[in-house]
């Protein structure tokens, strides 16, 4: 690569970025690790007590369970639906229009998405007209209206995950669709001429080609889901067994003013994400090596 700097000129370009990264990311992260070993007001050293509490208290165990549920269901559906859409939309002429529709929720905030879906799930007793789409459909088919957000522990969690899937499927679709269109058409045609049916073409030609893209978006989705905060905060604020790690951390911080436990929860979240940081850095190095 070209050497364009003389002496220390590069610092002039880097200094503002290094300053902000240091002040807002590196130093606070180190400080949070330190605080996680201190008490609620950060004045008494308590050793690993905050961690012990985090790993044994019932509300925290619920958040771990919910984050695992989010990880499995959210990731499966966003990536799965994204893949399905990428493949089937390639076969219709109004592809661009439908893609815009699926992709649109990506542009709006989780708060707005939360309001939209609270309205979809809106519940009223059977005697009143239903104004939420979901309960109107249930009642229309002869069922009883359900207050979905209090149906613990599975239905309400799945209802929140559905909001996340609604937002993020478009992201997976766009990336997978770009990768899908990069598959040489002759490969698929050759398989068809050899007598493969559509499912075999998909399994033996399409999937192997998309493997690295699928791995990449799966890890991206898992990282997003571990940090999921806004949807839960807006829809239930963690009530009725729907809490997740990030929302719990926020509540420990602002509702209970327990900075020690809040820091320990943040560190646990960080540790869960470390493998993905390593993965990203490795992928980046491999990419740099071929430049």
């Amino acid at each position: 690569m070209t050497v364009t700097n003389k002496g220390r000129a590069h610092w002039f370009y880097l200094a503002p970025a290094l300053l902000l990264l240091g002040v807002f990311l590196v130093y606070p992260s180190a400080e949070t690790i330190r605080l996680s070993f201190y008490g609620p007001r950060s004045d008494v050293f308590v050793g690993v007590q905050n961690y012990l509490r985090a790993f044994t208290s019932a509300p925290m165990l619920t958040t771990f369970r919910n984050n695992l549920l989010w990880m499995a269901v959210f990731t499966l559906f966003t990536v799965g639906m994204g893949l399905l859409l990428a493949v089937i939309l390639d076969r219709v002429r109004y592809e661009t229009l439908i893609k815009s529709v699926i992709f649109l929720p990506m542009a709006i905030s989780y708060v707005a998405a939360g309001v939209i879906w609270r309205f979809v799930y809106a519940f009223r007793p059977a005697v009143a007209p239903q104004i939420g789409l979901l309960n109107a459909i249930i009642v229309g088919m002869g069922g009883q209206p359900v207050w979905l957000l209090i149906q613990r522990p599975w239905l309400n969690n799945l209802a929140l995950i559905a909001v996340g899937v609604w937002v993020w499927t478009g992201f997976c679709m766009v990336i997978l669709s770009a990768a899908y269109k990069g598959i040489p058409r002759e490969m698929q045609e050759a398989a068809r001429i050899d007598g493969a049916n559509e499912w075999q073409v998909f399994r033996c030609v399409t999937i192997p080609f998309l493997k690295s893209t699928l791995a990449m978006i799966t890890t991206t989705m898992i990282v997003f889901v571990l940090k999921m905060f806004d949807i839960v905060y807006i829809m239930t604020n963690g009530a009725y067994d729907t809490d997740v790690i990030a929302n719990r951390m926020y509540n420990e911080m602002f509702q209970f003013n327990n900075y020690g436990t809040a820091s320990a929860i943040a560190v646990i979240l960080f540790l869960a994400i470390v493998p993905f940081i390593v993965l990203n850095v490795r992928r980046f190095r491999a990419q740099e090596a071929v430049r």
Binding site: L21, F24, L25, S109, I131, I175, I234, V281
Partner: protein
């Protein structure tokens, strides 16, 4: 296309259209409901209003007047711009300078610095909230616009540097060699050569950062939480959900107010948005 092939494709079209309807109907319900008076909204579902032409005359902008003038969404709309526009400009300027040095300058520790930036992209913000909030309280930056500009800039930098550096680094080397022959300095090469050539990627990065900041709740909640006069749309809307959770005529119109700008950005600049996602994610 033969007739039998067309018939065989019917299920395909059905699946596509059903999926599109599932994706569209929640937002459509919000939009329609935001124009219905309170009593109508509670008397029947929004689909009834769409399907009954006699009800169309009852649509009103009253809910919007209410949320904009009386529920603070008007002020919040302004605040969202005051927060988002400077943040985007600050982040992009600082990221472009750093990305330039990281792509075209040779110095010790460059590789380590690059890896650190890549690693920082996915660090959870939760790791930073408490110390930064304490720092802000000492410096009296909580509840101020400069405070949240800087915090958002810090949080957005890793991804922005990464996106820009991927593009800057792929520019042909001969370009710089001939510029230096003509007596350009590294800084004039940056201003006159790199920036003009990078307009598409700068646009993608700007849209990313703009939408991220506009749609952010967590950062605003923590650093602007107790100060309603500086609250952006997301924060104001979340307060409304807490205090007026069943007043759907207010919630629907307030939610739509918060969505207008992202939707305009999305529809007018979708190309750049998609390009940004592909550059940020598909690389490697």
């Amino acid at each position: 296309m033969s007739a039998s092939r067309k018939v065989r494709r019917v299920p395909l079209h059905l699946v596509v259209i059903v999926l599109a309807l599932i994706w569209l109907s929640p937002s459509l319900g919000l939009l329609v409901s935001s124009f219905r008076p309170r009593q109508d909204l509670l008397a029947s579902g929004w689909w009834t209003a769409v399907a009954t032409p006699s009800e169309w005359g009852r649509f009103t902008t009253g809910n919007y007047q209410d949320v904009l003038l009386r529920q603070g969404m008007g002020r919040a709309f302004l605040n969202s711009f005051i927060i988002t526009v400077p943040t985007t400009l600050i982040t992009l300027t600082i990221a472009a300078l750093a990305a330039y040095a990281l792509s075209w300058m040779e110095f010790r520790g460059r590789q380590v610095l690059l890896m650190t930036v890549v690693g920082l992209i996915v660090i959870p913000l939760q790791m930073t909230l408490i110390p930064v909030l304490r720092m802000f309280n000492v410096l009296r930056l909580s509840g101020t616009f400069p405070g949240i500009w800087l915090a958002h800039a810090g949080y957005g930098l890793p991804l922005m540097i990464y996106l820009l550096r991927n593009f800057f680094g792929a520019l042909p080397r001969e370009l710089f060699e001939s510029a230096y022959m003509d007596g350009a300095t590294p800084f004039t090469a940056f201003l006159r050569l790199v920036l003009p050539l990078s307009v598409p990627v700068l646009a993608s990065a700007a849209i990313f950062q703009f939408l991220w900041v506009w749609n952010d709740l967590l950062v605003a909640l923590v650093y602007l939480g107790g100060y309603s006069e500086v609250a952006p749309l997301t924060l104001r809307l979340s307060l409304l959900v807490g205090s007026r959770g069943q007043d759907w005529h207010l919630l629907t119109s307030a939610a739509f107010v918060s969505m207008i700008v992202p939707m305009v950005v999305f529809f007018s600049l979708q190309r750049y948005f998609v390009r940004g996602i592909l550059a940020g994610a598909v690389k490697g």
